[in-house]
C-alpha cells in the first residue's frame, strides 16, 4: 500500500528537484566563451560595459530559464495528455497545438509581418494565436451535450494536425529561399533569446497550466479506469477532460511560440520518469516537470557548446540524446511496461 503522504511526495520529487537546480546552477557557467564568475557578479561595475555580466544575466541565464519552462511545460503536458487520452504514445503535440503554432509562425514569416503586441513580435504572436485557434477548433469539434469524448478529441486533433501540416507545406512551396530557411530554422526549435522578456511572457501561462495539471492529477489517475468508473468515484468527467485539454494546450502553445516545436521531450520524459516514480500523476507530473526542465537545460547547453561556437538547433539534439537514452531505459524495464513474457 502506497498512500501518498506529503513526506513520500517530497522524498520522491526531491532528487529531480536537485537535478534541475544543479543543471540551472552549472550550465550557465559553461560555454564557448569563457565566463569570469567573480566579474559577472561584481555589481559595482558598470553593467552595460561588464561583458561577463551581460553574458551571464542577459544571454545564458534567461536562456536556461526559458529551457526550464519549455522542458517542464512539455513534460507536464505530455504526462497529462497520456493520462487524458489513455494512450502512451500521446504527447503535447498530439492534439494539434504545435501544428497550429507552426502554421501561425510560418504565416508570419511568409507575410513578413512586423507587428508587436504586448511585447511579442509577430512570429511568436502569430504562433500563439495559431495554437489557440487549433485548440478552439478541436474543442468545438469534440464538445458534445454534457460530454467530451476523448476518442473524438484524439481523432479531430490528429486530423487538424495533418490539415495544418499540408497548409504549412503549401506556404513552404510558395515561399522564397530566405523565408524557407527562416521557417525551417523555427521548426527545429531554439532557445537563443536575449534578456528575460520571453521568459516573463511564458511564465503566467506556465504557472496557470502547471497548477491546473497538479490539481487535475488525482482525477486523471481515476479517469484512466474509464469515464463511468471515474464518475462513480465522484469525478466530474467532462470538466476534468476539458480542463486538462485547455490548460495543457495553452501551456504548450505558450512555450511553442517562444521556443518553437521542440520535439520528443513531451513524449519521453514522462515515460522515463514513470520507471522511477510509477504511474501516479500526482508525483509523475511534478517529477516530469523538474526532470524535463533539467533535461532541456542540459540539451541546450550541449547544443551551444558541442560544435564550439556553432550552435545546433536544440530540437535536433533532444531527439538525438533522448532517443537512445529512452531505448536504454525501455530495454532495462520492459517488464514494468506490462510486457509480461
Amino acid at each position: 500500500m502506497k498512500a501518498l503522504s506529503p513526506a513520500r511526495f517530497a522524498a520522491t520529487v526531491t532528487p529531480f528537484a536537485l537535478f534541475f537546480l544543479g543543471a540551472l546552477a552549472i550550465c550557465p557557467l559553461v560555454g564557448a566563451v569563457p565566463l569570469d564568475l567573480s566579474r559577472a557578479l561584481d555589481f559595482s561595475a558598470d553593467r552595460a560595459a561588464n561583458a561577463d555580466y551581460q553574458l551571464l544575466f542577459v544571454l545564458r541565464l534567461p536562456r536556461a530559464l526559458l529551457a526550464a519552462l519549455t522542458g517542464s511545460a512539455l513534460a507536464m503536458a505530455g504526462a497529462a495528455f497520456q493520462a487524458l487520452l489513455r494512450n502512451p504514445l500521446a504527447e503535447p503535440y498530439t492534439l494539434g497545438v504545435s501544428s497550429g503554432g507552426a502554421l501561425g509562425a510560418v504565416l508570419a514569416i511568409k507575410l513578413g509581418l512586423d507587428i508587436t503586441f504586448a511585447g511579442l513580435s509577430s512570429v511568436p504572436l502569430f504562433s500563439f494565436a495559431g495554437s489557440l485557434s487549433a485548440m478552439g477548433v478541436i474543442y468545438l469539434l469534440a464538445r458534445g451535450r454534457g460530454r467530451f469524448p476523448t476518442s473524438v478529441l484524439l481523432l479531430s486533433g490528429v486530423t487538424i494536425s495533418f490539415f495544418f501540416a499540408s497548409m504549412i507545406l503549401f506556404i513552404h512551396y510558395i515561399a522564397d529561399f530566405t523565408e524557407n530557411q527562416q521557417m525551417i530554422r523555427w521548426m527545429m526549435g531554439g532557445l537563443d533569446i536575449v534578456g528575460f522578456s520571453a521568459v516573463m511572457q511564458v511564465l503566467p501561462l506556465w504557472i496557470v497550466g502547471a497548477l491546473a495539471v497538479l490539481y487535475l492529477a488525482r482525477d486523471l489517475n481515476v479517469l484512466s479506469f474509464g469515464d463511468v468508473y471515474a464518475s462513480s468515484k465522484g469525478i466530474d468527467v467532462p470538466r476534468t477532460q476539458k480542463g486538462t485539454f485547455i490548460f495543457a494546450s495553452m501551456m504548450t502553445g505558450a512555450v511553442v511560440s517562444a521556443a518553437g516545436p521542440i520535439g520528443f521531450v513531451g513524449l519521453i520524459v514522462p515515460h522515463a520518469l514513470r520507471f522511477f516514480t510509477g504511474p501516479d500523476l500526482r508525483v509523475l507530473a511534478p517529477a516530469s516537470a523538474l526532470a524535463g526542465a533539467g533535461f532541456l537545460i542540459l540539451c541546450d547547453t550541449a547544443a551551444r557548446t558541442i560544435l564550439g561556437s556553432v550552435e545546433i538547433p536544440v530540437g535536433v539534439l533532444t531527439a538525438m540524446l533522448g532517443g537512445p537514452f529512452f531505448l536504454f531505459l525501455l530495454m532495462r524495464h520492459k517488464r514494468r511496461l506490462g510486457a509480461t513474457d
Binding site: M1, K2, A3, L4, S5, P6, F9, Q82, A83, R86, P88, L214, Y215, A217, R218, D219, N221, V222, S224, F225, G226, V228, Y229, S231, S232, K233, G234, I235, D236, R274, G278, P279, D280, R282, R336, L337, G338, T340
Partner: protein, 276 residues
C-alpha cells in the same frame, strides 16, 4: 450542504434508492421500459435476469451514472440531478464487471483511489485514507497482492480489488454488477458473505446483479427478476424464483430441491439427449 445531507436531516430517509417510471434507450432501442422500484435503507437485493434484460443499465441508472430517458431516480429521497457528482459518490459506490488495467497502477494504488470523493484539493492521501484502504483489502483478502500491478492479476483477483475500492469509499449504498462472475466457489461465497455481513453491520444498502440463482436464493432476502426491460417479479427468492417463472424468463426447464433450512436449490434440467 449535500455533504451533510444525511447527517443534518433529523431522520435518515427510509428509502435508499427509488426509480419512478424509468425508461432508457441506447439510440432507439429501449432497454428499460417504465420501471418503478424502491429499495429501503439497509435492504440487500439480488437482481437477476437473462442476458440483455437490462440489469446493468438499471444498476447504472440507480447509481446515478446514467440519466433516465423518462422518469426519475432518487437517492435518499432526493433526485440524483440535485446531487453534485462528488456528493453522490460519498454515499453510493458502484462496482463494474471489470476495469481496464493501465499504466502499471498497483492493486493498492487502485483501492486507495476509492477514497477520492472524501478527499480535498491537496493531492495527498491521509493516514485515515490509508487505514480504510488497508482494512478494505484485508476484508476482501486482497492485501496479499497490494503491491502487484493490476496487469499481473487474474480476472478474479481484479474483481475483488474492485470490491475493495468500493468498500474504501465508505458507501451507504453499494451497487455491484456481477461482482463474482469470474470468481471460484470459495470467493463467490466469501464475497457474498462479506457483502451480507457489511449490509447487516453497517446498514449498507446493497444491490447485486448476479447470474447465479442459487447464490441469489442463499444470500438475498429480496430478489428482483428483470426480463426484456421490465420487472416481472419482486420478492423473497422462494416466491420469485419458481420453476414456472424460470422457464418463462430463461426458456430452461429446472428441477427444484431444498437445502436443509428450506432454501431453494435450482438445477437446470435439459432434455436427456443433450446431457453429458
Amino acid at each position: 450542504m449535500a455533504r451533510d445531507y444525511l447527517k443534518n436531516s433529523t431522520r435518515r430517509p427510509a428509502t435508499a434508492l427509488r426509480a419512478e417510471g424509468v425508461s432508457f434507450a441506447y439510440r432507439s432501442d429501449w432497454v428499460l421500459r417504465d420501471v418503478s422500484l424502491s429499495v429501503g435503507d439497509g435492504e440487500m437485493v439480488g437482481l437477476v435476469g437473462p442476458n440483455g434484460s437490462g440489469k446493468s443499465t438499471l444498476v447504472r441508472l440507480m447509481a446515478g451514472l446514467l440519466a433516465p430517458g423518462q422518469g426519475r431516480t432518487y437517492l435518499f429521497d432526493r433526485p440524483f440531478h440535485d446531487y453534485p457528482r462528488r456528493d453522490a459518490a460519498r454515499y453510493i459506490s458502484y462496482v463494474p464487471q471489470d476495469m481496464p488495467a493501465v499504466f502499471g497502477f498497483t492493486a493498492g494504488d487502485f483501492v486507495i483511489m476509492g477514497r477520492r470523493p472524501h478527499q480535498g484539493y491537496l493531492p495527498f492521501d491521509t493516514e485515515h485514507d490509508e487505514r480504510l484502504a488497508v482494512e478494505a483489502m484485508r476484508e476482501t483478502e486482497t492485501d496479499g497482492f497490494a503491491d502487484r500491478p493490476l496487469t499481473e492479476l487474474s480476472g478474479g483477483e481484479r474483481q475483488r480489488v474492485l470490491v475493495a475500492a468500493a468498500l474504501a469509499q465508505e458507501p451507504s449504498v453499494m451497487l455491484l454488477d456481477e461482482p463474482t462472475a469470474s470468481l471460484d466457489l470459495h470467493y463467490q461465497v466469501q464475497i457474498h458473505s462479506l457483502l451480507r455481513r457489511l449490509n447487516r453491520a453497517r446498514t449498507i444498502t446493497t444491490i447485486v446483479v448476479t447470474h447465479d440463482l442459487n447464490l441469489a436464493c442463499l444470500f438475498f432476502p429480496r430478489v428482483i427478476v428483470l426480463s426484456e426491460g421490465r420487472i416481472v417479479a419482486d420478492g423473497p427468492p422462494r416466491d420469485v424464483l419458481t420453476p414456472e417463472r424460470i422457464r418463462d424468463v430463461y426458456k430452461v426447464d429446472v428441477s427444484y430441491a431444498h437445502h436443509g433450512d428450506g432454501t431453494p436449490m435450482i438445477v437446470p434440467h435439459p432434455g436427456a439427449e443433450d446431457r453429458g
